[in-house]
């Protein structure tokens, strides 16, 4: 009996791909999703209490066709993305250096950690009123709350990452003759990258949640507001469209981060 060789196409193992596409798992997944949609439609048709109040997939679909042609709908995407990215990027700019410094200097950690620990358990949305009072424009206050959502996660993940670096790596770098900044650049930074990306993935999730809620509470634009407005206006199918759009937007953002993380930390085995 000879061994079959894997067949590759553009770096993808075709046999593996074929096996995973035609597997039972895929088939069951498709069945489950289709069954859920049918059940949802039926619940809406027969006006089952509670679940039946969710607009039926058929009505969602027909109003989706309308929405997709409406520039206002796409405007919402742009606005929300704008807010998410602004808050998220500021959180990176402040959070990453802070986390690194706190991880490397014991004294600075002792100095700032308790304050951080006191502020962290306060849910980000509880900051909305304070932010509105403080910042001159509503836009800035919203970005501030978004920033908060990602900030704490970033700092704590990086701090944990630095603290958990195996001391052997540092020692072997020292014995190979590097010191100071070299160790920081070649050991500490790469060793922290995995936890940095974990923090980014989690932070991105929180950011979207915060933006959506903040838009509902204190804004007149964006995907979150679209959802809230449709509720107020009684245009119920659009609520579901808004939710799905938010889900897709959030998923895309996390996917980009994951992709970036896999690229920048190739030594981690991709599972």
């Amino acid at each position: 009996m000879t061994q079959k060789k894997p067949v590759y196409f553009m770096g993808i193992n075709l046999r593996k791909l074929r096996k995973s596409i035609f597997s039972k798992t895929t088939y069951r997944g498709i069945v489950a999703v289709i069954a859920t949609v049918i059940l949802w439609e039926l619940c809406a048709r027969f006006e089952v209490p509670i679940i039946g109040m969710i607009p039926a997939p058929s009505s969602v679909f027909s109003s989706l066709v309308e929405q997709l042609q409406d520039p206002a709908y796409w405007e919402c995407w742009v606005v929300s993305y704008d807010r998410v990215l602004s808050g998220f990027i500021i959180a990176q700019i402040i959070g990453i250096p802070l986390g690194l410094i706190m991880g490397l200097s014991r004294h600075l950690r002792d100095l700032s950690f308790p304050t951080l620990e006191i502020l962290r358990p306060i849910p980000p949305l509880a900051w909305v009123p304070t932010a509105v009072i403080f910042w001159p424009t509503p836009e800035m206050s919203m970005i501030f709350v978004t920033f908060l959502g990602a900030f704490f996660t970033m700092v704590l993940n990086i701090l944990g990452g630095v603290k958990n670096i195996d001391v052997r790596y540092i020692r072997s770098a020292q014995s190979l003759g590097s010191s100071g900044f070299d160790i920081f650049r070649r050991i500490v930074l790469p060793a922290t990258l995995p936890s940095l990306f974990t923090g980014m993935t989690v932070g991105m999730g929180i950011t979207w949640a915060v933006v959506v809620a903040a838009e509902m509470i204190a804004s007149r634009s964006g995907l979150g507001f679209l959802t809230w407005k449709s509720y107020v206006a009684g245009d119920y199918p659009v609520i579901v469209i808004g939710m799905i759009s938010i889900g897709i937007a959030g998923y895309l953002s996390s996917a980009v981060i994951r992709l970036l993380g896999d690229r920048l930390t190739p030594w981690r085995k991709i599972i």
Partner: protein, 293 residues
């Protein structure tokens, strides 16, 4: 530390499950195993045949990735074989069409150890009889304490595995196996990660258990000295696809101790094993074999 390693050798008569007539004869006939993950066929075992007598201390040696674990897992019932048959005491255990059920007659001592970390030593040792409903809790406890004492593991029964040393953990695992009076003890490189000194203690302990119980032991290793020191017969496997290349009878007297390590016969046997394994190891190395788990 409550137990010192000097007390592990139980002297005098033992009550450790002496079977009137040795059981645990393993016949492996033309066992073939093909792994097929990702649509890539890996032929791990190719028409591997061997006969292990009841009460034999059978040691399998072979280069990394040659299919030793694969064979053991098939006997234990963790996966099937593609063709061939394996018999235990002339009863069909598994074949190309039938996978063996894991059971308390063939207990595995795992490479990295598998004591349940969430149970104390005592709870681990009594696990088998209790889940099988073979003993009452108090009877199981009594017997477990006895076995632990015989193996020099007094005083740790209420510790968690994370609180004792790795050598002790391995012995507890053997005690857990012996509680079930298995026909065969399947051991997959159990002492691999240990330092040489701890290993000598583990060997002595295992030989004591073997001498008293005369269980069939199916022992995988790639430490050749260990193989000869422990085994009744040493089975050398070829590189993947694995088959038995050579069977070497180790005619050293039992009970064995470290004196035989300097005997001429031991050195001869060692030379013989090294010669036959080395060539295979080289082939495996050049093929870049990796071990799975």
């Amino acid at each position: 530390m409550t137990t010192s390693t000097s007390t592990i050798c139980p002297t005098g008569t033992s009550e450790m499950h002496l079977s009137p007539q040795p059981v645990g004869k393993l016949s492996i006939r033309n066992a073939t195993k093909i792994y097929d993950p990702d649509g890539v066929n890996v032929l791990a075992l190719d028409n591997c045949s061997m006969e292990v007598e009841a009460g034999e201390f059978c040691v399998i040696v072979g280069p990394s990735g040659c299919g030793k674990t694969t064979l053991l897992n098939a006997i234990a019932g963790f996966h099937d074989i593609t063709s061939g048959d394996i018999f235990l005491d002339d009863e069909l255990l598994c074949s190309g069409t039938k996978q063996a059920e894991p059971g308390a007659d063939r207990i595995v001592v795992f490479q990295h150890g598998a004591l349940f970390p969430w149970y104390t030593v005592l709870e681990n040792v009594t696990f088998g009889p209790l889940v099988q409903g073979k003993m009452s809790a108090s009877a199981a406890k009594k017997e477990a304490e006895e076995i632990l004492a015989q193996m020099g593991l007094k005083g740790i029964s209420h510790s968690y595995p994370s609180e004792i040393s790795s050598g002790m953990r391995r012995r507890v695992e053997i005690a857990r196996a012996m509680m079930n009076n298995p026909k065969v003890l399947l051991m997959d490189e159990p002492y691999r990660a240990m330092d040489a000194l701890t290993k000598t203690i583990m060997h002595k302990n295992l030989l004591d258990v073997y001498d008293q119980s005369r269980k069939t032991i199916f022992f995988i290793t790639h430490d050749l000295e260990e193989a000869i020191f422990l085994g009744t017969r040493v089975y050398v496997m070829t590189t993947r696809p694995g088959t038995i290349k050579k069977v070497i009878d180790v005619d050293l007297p039992r009970p064995r101790d470290y004196k035989i390590l300097s005997s001429d016969r031991y050195l001869e046997l060692k030379q013989e094993v090294i010669e036959s394994v080395h060539e295979e190891a080289k082939k495996a190395f050049e093929a870049g074999e990796r071990e799975m788990a």
